[in-house]
Protein backbone atom coordinates (compact mmCIF):
# COMPACT_ATOMS: atom_id res chain seq x y z
CA UNK A 1 0.00 0.00 0.00
CA UNK A 2 1.27 3.49 -0.83
CA UNK A 3 2.16 5.98 1.90
CA UNK A 4 -0.91 8.05 1.09
CA UNK A 5 -3.07 4.92 1.22
CA UNK A 6 -1.67 4.07 4.64
CA UNK A 7 -2.40 7.56 5.97
CA UNK A 8 -5.90 7.43 4.50
CA UNK A 9 -6.59 4.03 6.10
CA UNK A 10 -5.16 5.21 9.41
CA UNK A 11 -7.39 8.29 9.33
CA UNK A 12 -10.41 5.96 9.33
CA UNK A 13 -9.17 3.00 11.38
CA UNK A 14 -7.67 4.95 14.29
CA UNK A 15 -10.77 7.00 15.25
CA UNK A 16 -13.02 3.96 14.76
CA UNK A 17 -10.63 1.85 16.87
CA UNK A 18 -10.56 4.54 19.55
CA UNK A 19 -14.37 4.69 19.56
CA UNK A 20 -14.49 0.89 19.88
CA UNK A 21 -12.18 0.96 22.89
CA UNK A 22 -14.02 3.87 24.56
CA UNK A 23 -17.33 2.02 24.14
CA UNK A 24 -15.95 -1.37 25.25
CA UNK A 25 -14.32 0.07 28.37
CA UNK A 26 -17.52 1.91 29.30
CA UNK A 27 -16.11 5.42 28.87
CA UNK A 28 -18.95 5.99 26.42
CA UNK A 29 -22.27 4.55 27.56
CA UNK A 30 -24.12 2.18 25.15
CA UNK A 31 -27.11 4.49 25.66
CA UNK A 32 -25.10 7.12 23.80
CA UNK A 33 -23.22 5.05 21.18
CA UNK A 34 -22.82 1.32 20.67
CA UNK A 35 -19.35 -0.02 19.70
CA UNK A 36 -18.65 0.10 15.94
CA UNK A 37 -18.18 -3.69 15.84
CA UNK A 38 -21.66 -4.02 17.34
CA UNK A 39 -23.01 -1.69 14.63
CA UNK A 40 -21.53 -3.92 11.92
CA UNK A 41 -22.85 -7.10 13.57
CA UNK A 42 -26.34 -5.66 13.99
CA UNK A 43 -26.37 -4.34 10.43
CA UNK A 44 -25.46 -7.81 9.17
CA UNK A 45 -28.39 -9.38 11.00
CA UNK A 46 -30.75 -6.59 9.92
CA UNK A 47 -29.84 -7.13 6.29
CA UNK A 48 -30.00 -10.91 6.70
CA UNK A 49 -33.48 -10.78 8.20
CA UNK A 50 -34.70 -8.56 5.39
CA UNK A 51 -36.93 -6.79 7.89
CA UNK A 52 -36.15 -3.34 6.51
CA UNK A 53 -35.80 -4.36 2.90
CA UNK A 54 -38.81 -2.28 1.83
CA UNK A 55 -37.46 0.84 3.56
CA UNK A 56 -34.00 0.42 2.07
CA UNK A 57 -35.45 -0.16 -1.39
CA UNK A 58 -37.76 2.86 -1.05
CA UNK A 59 -34.93 5.18 -0.02
CA UNK A 60 -32.48 3.96 -2.65
CA UNK A 61 -35.03 4.05 -5.48
CA UNK A 62 -36.15 7.56 -4.46
CA UNK A 63 -32.51 8.67 -4.38
CA UNK A 64 -31.96 7.14 -7.81
CA UNK A 65 -34.99 8.91 -9.30
CA UNK A 66 -33.90 12.20 -7.70
CA UNK A 67 -30.32 11.87 -8.99
CA UNK A 68 -31.32 10.96 -12.55
CA UNK A 69 -33.89 13.78 -12.67
CA UNK A 70 -31.37 16.29 -11.26
CA UNK A 71 -28.69 15.21 -13.74
CA UNK A 72 -30.97 15.44 -16.76
CA UNK A 73 -32.67 18.68 -15.71
CA UNK A 74 -29.36 20.22 -14.63
CA UNK A 75 -27.69 19.42 -17.94
CA UNK A 76 -30.59 20.71 -20.01
CA UNK A 77 -31.05 23.91 -17.97
CA UNK A 78 -27.31 24.66 -17.95
CA UNK A 79 -26.98 24.07 -21.69
CA UNK A 80 -29.95 26.35 -22.39
CA UNK A 81 -28.69 29.05 -20.03
CA UNK A 82 -25.25 28.91 -21.60
CA UNK A 83 -26.80 29.63 -24.97
CA UNK A 84 -28.98 32.45 -23.59
CA UNK A 85 -26.53 34.84 -21.90
CA UNK A 86 -29.17 37.53 -21.25
CA UNK A 87 -31.30 35.06 -19.27
CA UNK A 88 -28.22 33.71 -17.54
CA UNK A 89 -27.23 37.18 -16.33
CA UNK A 90 -30.61 37.42 -14.61
CA UNK A 91 -30.27 34.07 -12.84
CA UNK A 92 -26.56 34.01 -11.98
CA UNK A 93 -26.91 35.95 -8.68
CA UNK A 94 -29.83 33.71 -7.70
CA UNK A 95 -27.72 30.59 -8.26
CA UNK A 96 -25.05 32.03 -5.98
CA UNK A 97 -27.54 32.33 -3.12
CA UNK A 98 -29.49 29.14 -3.83
CA UNK A 99 -27.94 27.06 -1.08
CA UNK A 100 -28.70 29.69 1.53
CA UNK A 101 -32.38 28.82 1.10
CA UNK A 102 -33.51 26.17 3.64
CA UNK A 103 -35.18 23.79 1.18
CA UNK A 104 -36.76 21.77 4.03
CA UNK A 105 -38.86 24.83 4.90
CA UNK A 106 -40.78 24.10 1.71
CA UNK A 107 -41.70 20.58 2.81
CA UNK A 108 -45.34 21.53 3.63
CA UNK A 109 -45.63 23.06 0.18
CA UNK A 110 -44.24 19.88 -1.34
CA UNK A 111 -46.91 17.83 0.45
CA UNK A 112 -49.60 20.19 -0.83
CA UNK A 113 -48.22 19.92 -4.35
CA UNK A 114 -47.28 16.24 -4.49
CA UNK A 115 -49.32 14.51 -1.75
CA UNK A 116 -48.09 12.15 0.95
CA UNK A 117 -46.26 9.58 -1.17
CA UNK A 118 -42.62 9.50 -2.20
CA UNK A 119 -42.79 12.58 -4.41
CA UNK A 120 -42.19 15.23 -1.70
CA UNK A 121 -38.95 13.45 -0.66
CA UNK A 122 -37.87 13.07 -4.27
CA UNK A 123 -38.65 16.76 -4.86
CA UNK A 124 -36.51 17.81 -1.88
CA UNK A 125 -33.63 15.57 -3.03
CA UNK A 126 -34.00 16.90 -6.56
CA UNK A 127 -34.06 20.56 -5.47
CA UNK A 128 -30.89 20.10 -3.44
CA UNK A 129 -29.10 18.17 -6.19
CA UNK A 130 -30.10 19.98 -9.34
CA UNK A 131 -28.34 23.26 -8.60
CA UNK A 132 -25.01 21.49 -8.09
CA UNK A 133 -25.36 20.04 -11.59
CA UNK A 134 -26.41 23.38 -13.11
CA UNK A 135 -23.61 25.39 -11.49
CA UNK A 136 -20.86 22.88 -12.30
CA UNK A 137 -22.10 22.29 -15.84
CA UNK A 138 -22.16 26.05 -16.49
CA UNK A 139 -18.69 26.28 -15.02
CA UNK A 140 -17.48 23.58 -17.41
CA UNK A 141 -19.28 25.03 -20.44
CA UNK A 142 -17.65 28.41 -19.78
CA UNK A 143 -14.28 26.72 -20.15
CA UNK A 144 -14.87 24.97 -23.46
CA UNK A 145 -12.06 26.24 -25.73
CA UNK A 146 -13.54 28.40 -28.48
CA UNK A 147 -11.36 26.66 -31.03
CA UNK A 148 -13.32 23.43 -30.45
CA UNK A 149 -16.54 25.27 -31.26
CA UNK A 150 -14.88 26.60 -34.42
CA UNK A 151 -13.88 23.05 -35.39
CA UNK A 152 -17.49 21.94 -34.87
CA UNK A 153 -18.68 24.73 -37.14
CA UNK A 154 -16.13 23.79 -39.79
CA UNK A 155 -17.61 20.27 -39.65
CA UNK A 156 -21.04 21.89 -40.03
CA UNK A 157 -22.49 20.42 -36.83
CA UNK A 158 -25.94 21.57 -35.78
CA UNK A 159 -26.39 23.47 -32.52
CA UNK A 160 -27.69 20.31 -30.82
CA UNK A 161 -24.77 18.23 -32.08
CA UNK A 162 -22.26 20.85 -30.94
CA UNK A 163 -23.85 20.69 -27.49
CA UNK A 164 -23.93 16.89 -27.33
CA UNK A 165 -20.71 16.01 -29.13
CA UNK A 166 -18.41 18.87 -28.20
CA UNK A 167 -19.58 21.20 -25.44
CA UNK A 168 -20.75 18.57 -22.97
CA UNK A 169 -17.83 16.13 -23.49
CA UNK A 170 -15.39 19.03 -23.18
CA UNK A 171 -17.06 20.12 -19.95
CA UNK A 172 -17.26 16.52 -18.68
CA UNK A 173 -14.80 16.85 -15.77
CA UNK A 174 -16.85 19.72 -14.32
CA UNK A 175 -20.13 17.97 -15.04
CA UNK A 176 -18.79 14.92 -13.23
CA UNK A 177 -18.10 17.05 -10.16
CA UNK A 178 -21.71 18.23 -10.36
CA UNK A 179 -22.91 14.62 -10.56
CA UNK A 180 -20.88 13.63 -7.51
CA UNK A 181 -22.36 16.50 -5.53
CA UNK A 182 -25.83 15.63 -6.85
CA UNK A 183 -25.46 12.10 -5.48
CA UNK A 184 -24.44 13.43 -2.07
CA UNK A 185 -27.18 16.09 -2.00
CA UNK A 186 -29.84 13.60 -3.10
CA UNK A 187 -29.00 11.31 -0.18
CA UNK A 188 -28.98 14.27 2.22
CA UNK A 189 -32.28 15.59 0.87
CA UNK A 190 -34.19 12.34 0.78
CA UNK A 191 -33.02 10.84 4.06
CA UNK A 192 -33.55 14.23 5.72
CA UNK A 193 -37.05 14.49 4.26
CA UNK A 194 -37.86 10.96 5.44
CA UNK A 195 -37.03 12.13 8.97
CA UNK A 196 -39.74 14.79 8.83
CA UNK A 197 -43.00 13.18 7.77
CA UNK A 198 -42.45 10.05 5.75
CA UNK A 199 -43.82 6.73 6.94
CA UNK A 200 -41.10 4.61 5.34
CA UNK A 201 -37.50 4.72 4.25
CA UNK A 202 -34.13 4.53 6.01
CA UNK A 203 -34.48 8.09 7.32
CA UNK A 204 -37.86 7.30 8.82
CA UNK A 205 -36.54 4.12 10.48
CA UNK A 206 -33.53 5.97 11.92
CA UNK A 207 -35.86 8.63 13.30
CA UNK A 208 -38.22 5.96 14.70
CA UNK A 209 -35.34 4.12 16.36
CA UNK A 210 -34.01 7.37 17.80
CA UNK A 211 -37.40 8.23 19.35
CA UNK A 212 -37.52 4.75 20.91
CA UNK A 213 -33.91 4.80 22.19
CA UNK A 214 -33.23 1.79 19.95
CA UNK A 215 -29.51 2.26 19.40
CA UNK A 216 -29.12 -1.29 18.03
CA UNK A 217 -31.29 -0.30 15.11
CA UNK A 218 -30.42 3.39 14.76
CA UNK A 219 -26.62 3.09 14.52
CA UNK A 220 -26.56 0.16 12.07
CA UNK A 221 -28.92 2.07 9.79
CA UNK A 222 -26.70 5.17 10.04
CA UNK A 223 -23.75 2.92 9.21
CA UNK A 224 -25.67 1.55 6.23
CA UNK A 225 -26.24 5.09 4.92
CA UNK A 226 -22.56 5.88 5.40
CA UNK A 227 -21.45 2.72 3.61
CA UNK A 228 -23.82 3.25 0.66
CA UNK A 229 -22.97 6.94 0.19
CA UNK A 230 -19.24 6.33 0.55
CA UNK A 231 -19.30 3.36 -1.84
CA UNK A 232 -21.25 5.29 -4.47
CA UNK A 233 -19.03 8.35 -4.19
CA UNK A 234 -15.81 6.35 -4.17
CA UNK A 235 -16.97 4.47 -7.29
CA UNK A 236 -17.69 7.80 -8.98
CA UNK A 237 -14.31 9.08 -7.83
CA UNK A 238 -12.50 6.07 -9.33
CA UNK A 239 -14.44 6.45 -12.59
CA UNK A 240 -13.68 10.17 -12.66
CA UNK A 241 -9.96 9.53 -12.13
CA UNK A 242 -10.03 6.98 -14.94
CA UNK A 243 -11.63 9.54 -17.28
CA UNK A 244 -9.32 12.35 -16.18
CA UNK A 245 -6.25 10.18 -16.74
CA UNK A 246 -6.94 10.48 -20.49
CA UNK A 247 -6.70 14.25 -20.30
CA UNK A 248 -3.58 14.47 -18.15
CA UNK A 249 -0.32 15.21 -19.88
Amino acid sequence: MSKIGLVRTAAIVLPVGALELLCRFGTISPITIIPPSEMVRSLYFILLAGQYQADITATLSNVLVSIVAAMLAGLIVATLLESLPAIRRIFDPLFATYYSVPIYAFYPLMIVLFGLGDLPQIAIGFLLAVMAVIINTLNGLDRVPQVLIKVSRVHRLSYLKIALQVRLPSAAPYIFTGFKLAVAYSFVGIIGAEFITSSRGIGYQISYAYNNFDNRLMYPLILLVLVVVTTVNMSLYVWEQHLLARRRT
Partner: protein, 296 residues
Amino acid sequence: MSSADSMNTAVAEAGRRDAEWVAAAPGVAAAVHVALRDVARVFPPRGTQPALHALGPIDLDLIKGEFFAVVGPSGCGKSTLLDIIAGLVPPSSGQATFEGRPVLGQVPDGVGVVFQEDASFPWLTVFDNIAFGLRERKRPEAEIKEAVDYAVGFMGLSDFSGAYPAQLSGGMRQRVCIARTLVMKPRLILLDEPFGALDQQTRLLMGDELLRLWRETGATILLITHALDEAAMLADRIGVMSSRPGTFLEIIRTGWSRERDSTIVSQESFGRLTSRMWTLLREQSIRSIGYAKGHA
Protein backbone atom coordinates in the same frame (compact mmCIF):
# COMPACT_ATOMS: atom_id res chain seq x y z
CA MET B 1 -10.09 59.06 -53.63
CA SER B 2 -8.18 58.51 -50.38
CA SER B 3 -4.70 57.02 -50.33
CA ALA B 4 -6.12 53.86 -48.70
CA ASP B 5 -8.69 53.54 -51.52
CA SER B 6 -6.10 54.01 -54.22
CA MET B 7 -3.86 51.46 -52.48
CA ASN B 8 -6.69 48.92 -52.38
CA THR B 9 -7.58 49.56 -56.00
CA ALA B 10 -3.96 49.01 -56.92
CA VAL B 11 -3.86 45.84 -54.84
CA ALA B 12 -7.06 44.57 -56.46
CA GLU B 13 -5.58 45.17 -59.89
CA ALA B 14 -2.37 43.47 -58.82
CA GLY B 15 -4.47 40.54 -57.58
CA ARG B 16 -6.22 40.25 -60.94
CA ARG B 17 -2.89 40.45 -62.78
CA ASP B 18 -1.60 37.72 -60.47
CA ALA B 19 -4.68 35.67 -61.23
CA GLU B 20 -3.82 35.86 -64.92
CA TRP B 21 -0.26 34.85 -64.08
CA VAL B 22 -1.38 31.88 -62.00
CA ALA B 23 -3.76 30.83 -64.75
CA ALA B 24 -0.86 30.81 -67.15
CA ALA B 25 1.31 28.79 -64.76
CA PRO B 26 1.60 25.06 -65.56
CA GLY B 27 -0.65 22.73 -63.57
CA VAL B 28 -2.86 25.47 -62.13
CA ALA B 29 -6.50 25.78 -63.18
CA ALA B 30 -7.82 29.20 -64.15
CA ALA B 31 -10.99 29.57 -62.07
CA VAL B 32 -11.22 32.04 -59.21
CA HIS B 33 -11.88 29.86 -56.18
CA VAL B 34 -12.25 32.48 -53.48
CA ALA B 35 -12.98 36.13 -54.09
CA LEU B 36 -12.98 38.95 -51.56
CA ARG B 37 -14.47 42.28 -52.53
CA ASP B 38 -14.11 45.32 -50.25
CA VAL B 39 -14.02 43.01 -47.25
CA ALA B 40 -13.56 44.78 -43.93
CA ARG B 41 -14.10 43.78 -40.34
CA VAL B 42 -14.80 46.24 -37.53
CA PHE B 43 -15.32 44.78 -34.05
CA PRO B 44 -18.08 46.73 -32.27
CA PRO B 45 -17.36 48.63 -29.04
CA ARG B 46 -17.35 46.44 -25.94
CA GLY B 47 -17.70 48.07 -22.52
CA THR B 48 -15.12 50.81 -22.30
CA GLN B 49 -13.26 49.50 -25.37
CA PRO B 50 -13.94 51.53 -28.53
CA ALA B 51 -14.79 49.91 -31.87
CA LEU B 52 -11.77 48.21 -33.43
CA HIS B 53 -11.14 48.36 -37.16
CA ALA B 54 -9.27 45.07 -37.55
CA LEU B 55 -9.17 44.45 -41.26
CA GLY B 56 -9.57 45.91 -44.71
CA PRO B 57 -11.05 46.89 -46.96
CA ILE B 58 -9.45 44.06 -48.90
CA ASP B 59 -9.84 42.71 -52.43
CA LEU B 60 -8.34 39.35 -53.25
CA ASP B 61 -8.78 36.49 -55.71
CA LEU B 62 -7.52 33.04 -54.81
CA ILE B 63 -7.12 30.96 -57.93
CA LYS B 64 -8.26 27.34 -57.87
CA GLY B 65 -5.32 25.13 -56.96
CA GLU B 66 -2.91 27.84 -55.90
CA PHE B 67 -1.00 28.06 -52.63
CA PHE B 68 -1.39 31.52 -51.17
CA ALA B 69 0.34 32.63 -47.98
CA VAL B 70 -0.46 35.67 -45.87
CA VAL B 71 2.19 37.25 -43.69
CA GLY B 72 1.85 40.33 -41.55
CA PRO B 73 2.62 41.82 -38.17
CA SER B 74 0.86 40.62 -35.01
CA GLY B 75 -2.71 41.83 -34.72
CA CYS B 76 -3.02 42.88 -38.37
CA GLY B 77 -6.16 40.80 -38.91
CA LYS B 78 -4.65 37.73 -40.60
CA SER B 79 -6.74 35.29 -38.58
CA THR B 80 -9.82 37.48 -39.01
CA LEU B 81 -9.28 37.27 -42.77
CA LEU B 82 -9.18 33.48 -42.51
CA ASP B 83 -12.30 33.42 -40.34
CA ILE B 84 -14.18 35.52 -42.90
CA ILE B 85 -13.18 33.25 -45.80
CA ALA B 86 -14.14 30.21 -43.70
CA GLY B 87 -17.54 31.69 -42.86
CA LEU B 88 -16.78 31.67 -39.14
CA VAL B 89 -17.29 35.43 -38.82
CA PRO B 90 -19.15 37.73 -41.20
CA PRO B 91 -17.40 40.73 -42.75
CA SER B 92 -18.63 44.11 -41.50
CA SER B 93 -18.75 45.20 -45.12
CA GLY B 94 -17.97 43.69 -48.49
CA GLN B 95 -18.44 40.11 -49.60
CA ALA B 96 -16.54 36.85 -49.67
CA THR B 97 -17.41 34.17 -52.22
CA PHE B 98 -16.29 30.56 -52.47
CA GLU B 99 -16.75 28.76 -55.79
CA GLY B 100 -18.95 31.63 -56.91
CA ARG B 101 -21.35 31.45 -53.97
CA PRO B 102 -21.38 34.04 -51.17
CA VAL B 103 -20.04 32.80 -47.84
CA LEU B 104 -22.98 33.48 -45.55
CA GLY B 105 -23.36 32.44 -41.94
CA GLN B 106 -21.84 28.97 -42.13
CA VAL B 107 -18.71 27.21 -43.30
CA PRO B 108 -19.22 26.17 -46.93
CA ASP B 109 -19.03 22.51 -47.85
CA GLY B 110 -15.54 21.69 -49.12
CA VAL B 111 -13.67 24.01 -46.77
CA GLY B 112 -11.25 22.64 -44.17
CA VAL B 113 -9.55 24.69 -41.48
CA VAL B 114 -6.54 23.96 -39.29
CA PHE B 115 -6.23 26.35 -36.39
CA GLN B 116 -3.23 27.71 -34.57
CA GLU B 117 -4.37 26.44 -31.17
CA ASP B 118 -4.59 22.81 -30.15
CA ALA B 119 -8.01 21.85 -31.51
CA SER B 120 -7.88 18.12 -30.85
CA PHE B 121 -10.75 16.70 -28.84
CA PRO B 122 -9.12 15.55 -25.58
CA TRP B 123 -11.78 12.91 -24.88
CA LEU B 124 -11.24 11.12 -28.21
CA THR B 125 -8.34 8.92 -29.30
CA VAL B 126 -6.13 9.96 -32.20
CA PHE B 127 -8.10 7.61 -34.46
CA ASP B 128 -11.47 8.97 -33.33
CA ASN B 129 -10.27 12.57 -33.62
CA ILE B 130 -9.26 12.04 -37.23
CA ALA B 131 -12.45 10.10 -37.98
CA PHE B 132 -14.65 12.79 -36.42
CA GLY B 133 -15.69 14.57 -39.62
CA LEU B 134 -16.07 11.39 -41.65
CA ARG B 135 -18.37 9.92 -39.02
CA GLU B 136 -20.41 13.13 -39.08
CA ARG B 137 -20.85 12.59 -42.82
CA LYS B 138 -21.97 9.05 -42.04
CA ARG B 139 -19.34 7.44 -44.28
CA PRO B 140 -19.14 3.62 -44.09
CA GLU B 141 -16.96 2.43 -41.21
CA ALA B 142 -14.65 0.50 -43.58
CA GLU B 143 -14.04 3.64 -45.63
CA ILE B 144 -13.39 5.63 -42.45
CA LYS B 145 -10.89 3.07 -41.21
CA GLU B 146 -9.03 3.03 -44.52
CA ALA B 147 -8.88 6.85 -44.71
CA VAL B 148 -7.88 7.30 -41.08
CA ASP B 149 -5.27 4.53 -41.16
CA TYR B 150 -3.70 6.16 -44.22
CA ALA B 151 -3.74 9.60 -42.58
CA VAL B 152 -2.31 8.23 -39.32
CA GLY B 153 0.56 6.62 -41.22
CA PHE B 154 1.07 9.64 -43.41
CA MET B 155 1.35 11.91 -40.38
CA GLY B 156 3.72 9.56 -38.55
CA LEU B 157 1.20 8.73 -35.86
CA SER B 158 0.85 4.99 -36.48
CA ASP B 159 2.08 4.07 -33.01
CA PHE B 160 -0.33 6.50 -31.39
CA SER B 161 -3.61 5.65 -33.09
CA GLY B 162 -5.20 4.58 -29.80
CA ALA B 163 -3.57 7.31 -27.69
CA TYR B 164 -5.35 10.35 -26.30
CA PRO B 165 -4.13 13.85 -27.25
CA ALA B 166 -2.84 14.46 -23.71
CA GLN B 167 -0.35 11.65 -24.29
CA LEU B 168 1.10 13.40 -27.37
CA SER B 169 3.46 16.32 -27.83
CA GLY B 170 2.11 19.67 -29.08
CA GLY B 171 3.44 18.98 -32.55
CA MET B 172 1.82 15.55 -32.70
CA ARG B 173 -1.51 17.00 -31.58
CA GLN B 174 -1.26 19.53 -34.40
CA ARG B 175 -0.60 16.71 -36.84
CA VAL B 176 -3.79 15.04 -35.59
CA CYS B 177 -5.70 18.24 -36.40
CA ILE B 178 -4.13 18.47 -39.85
CA ALA B 179 -5.00 14.83 -40.53
CA ARG B 180 -8.59 15.42 -39.35
CA THR B 181 -8.88 18.19 -41.93
CA LEU B 182 -7.15 16.35 -44.77
CA VAL B 183 -9.23 13.15 -44.54
CA MET B 184 -12.26 15.27 -45.45
CA LYS B 185 -10.57 16.03 -48.81
CA PRO B 186 -11.44 19.74 -48.73
CA ARG B 187 -11.22 21.76 -51.95
CA LEU B 188 -10.09 24.81 -49.97
CA ILE B 189 -7.73 24.35 -47.03
CA LEU B 190 -7.30 27.27 -44.64
CA LEU B 191 -4.29 26.99 -42.36
CA ASP B 192 -3.94 29.41 -39.46
CA GLU B 193 -0.29 29.11 -38.39
CA PRO B 194 -0.57 25.33 -38.25
CA PHE B 195 3.13 24.75 -37.65
CA GLY B 196 3.54 27.32 -34.89
CA ALA B 197 3.93 24.60 -32.25
CA LEU B 198 6.52 22.62 -34.22
CA ASP B 199 10.31 22.80 -34.13
CA GLN B 200 12.12 24.14 -37.20
CA GLN B 201 13.15 20.76 -38.62
CA THR B 202 9.67 19.30 -38.24
CA ARG B 203 8.20 22.44 -39.78
CA LEU B 204 10.36 22.03 -42.89
CA LEU B 205 9.40 18.36 -43.21
CA MET B 206 5.72 19.10 -42.59
CA GLY B 207 6.01 21.79 -45.23
CA ASP B 208 7.28 19.18 -47.68
CA GLU B 209 4.36 16.91 -46.81
CA LEU B 210 1.93 19.78 -47.19
CA LEU B 211 3.32 20.59 -50.63
CA ARG B 212 3.02 16.94 -51.65
CA LEU B 213 -0.57 16.83 -50.44
CA TRP B 214 -1.34 20.08 -52.20
CA ARG B 215 -0.04 18.67 -55.47
CA GLU B 216 -1.91 15.38 -55.01
CA THR B 217 -5.26 16.86 -54.04
CA GLY B 218 -5.25 19.97 -56.21
CA ALA B 219 -6.78 21.86 -53.30
CA THR B 220 -6.44 25.61 -52.95
CA ILE B 221 -4.50 26.52 -49.83
CA LEU B 222 -4.49 29.73 -47.86
CA LEU B 223 -1.76 29.74 -45.21
CA ILE B 224 -1.59 32.34 -42.47
CA THR B 225 1.85 32.49 -40.93
CA HIS B 226 4.28 34.62 -38.97
CA ALA B 227 7.23 32.78 -40.46
CA LEU B 228 8.55 34.51 -43.57
CA ASP B 229 10.66 31.51 -44.58
CA GLU B 230 7.62 29.24 -44.35
CA ALA B 231 5.61 31.53 -46.60
CA ALA B 232 8.52 31.85 -49.05
CA MET B 233 9.01 28.08 -49.25
CA LEU B 234 5.39 27.01 -49.55
CA ALA B 235 3.46 29.63 -51.48
CA ASP B 236 2.88 30.52 -55.13
CA ARG B 237 1.95 34.01 -54.00
CA ILE B 238 2.44 35.81 -50.71
CA GLY B 239 0.18 38.59 -49.50
CA VAL B 240 2.12 40.93 -47.22
CA MET B 241 -0.22 42.75 -44.86
CA SER B 242 0.09 46.11 -43.18
CA SER B 243 -0.39 46.68 -39.47
CA ARG B 244 -3.99 47.10 -38.22
CA PRO B 245 -6.30 47.61 -40.00
CA GLY B 246 -4.68 45.02 -42.21
CA THR B 247 -4.61 45.58 -45.98
CA PHE B 248 -2.29 44.07 -48.55
CA LEU B 249 0.88 46.13 -49.00
CA GLU B 250 2.02 43.90 -51.81
CA ILE B 251 1.31 40.51 -53.30
CA ILE B 252 4.59 38.82 -54.13
CA ARG B 253 4.88 36.05 -56.69
CA THR B 254 7.43 33.48 -55.63
CA GLY B 255 7.87 31.93 -59.07
CA TRP B 256 8.55 28.43 -57.71
CA SER B 257 7.63 25.41 -59.75
CA ARG B 258 4.81 23.23 -58.46
CA GLU B 259 7.30 20.41 -57.80
CA ARG B 260 9.20 22.39 -55.16
CA ASP B 261 10.26 21.15 -51.74
CA SER B 262 12.20 22.40 -48.71
CA THR B 263 15.54 22.26 -50.57
CA ILE B 264 14.62 25.62 -52.17
CA VAL B 265 15.54 27.32 -48.90
CA SER B 266 19.19 27.15 -49.99
CA GLN B 267 18.50 29.02 -53.25
CA GLU B 268 19.58 32.62 -53.64
CA SER B 269 16.11 33.70 -54.79
CA PHE B 270 14.69 32.32 -51.55
CA GLY B 271 16.83 34.77 -49.60
CA ARG B 272 15.72 37.60 -51.87
CA LEU B 273 12.07 36.71 -51.27
CA THR B 274 12.34 36.73 -47.47
CA SER B 275 14.41 39.90 -47.64
CA ARG B 276 11.73 41.60 -49.75
CA MET B 277 9.03 40.56 -47.26
CA TRP B 278 11.04 41.80 -44.30
CA THR B 279 11.68 45.14 -46.01
CA LEU B 280 7.92 45.55 -46.36
CA LEU B 281 7.12 44.26 -42.88
CA ARG B 282 9.80 45.80 -40.70
CA GLU B 283 8.18 49.19 -40.23
CA GLN B 284 4.73 47.62 -39.96
CA SER B 285 5.94 45.26 -37.25
CA ILE B 286 7.56 48.09 -35.33
CA ARG B 287 4.28 50.01 -35.54
CA SER B 288 2.23 47.01 -34.43
CA ILE B 289 4.28 46.44 -31.28
CA GLY B 290 3.97 50.11 -30.40
CA TYR B 291 7.56 51.33 -30.77
CA ALA B 292 8.04 55.05 -31.35
CA LYS B 293 9.18 55.80 -34.89
CA GLY B 294 12.41 57.26 -33.60
CA HIS B 295 13.45 53.83 -32.28
CA ALA B 296 13.18 52.21 -35.67
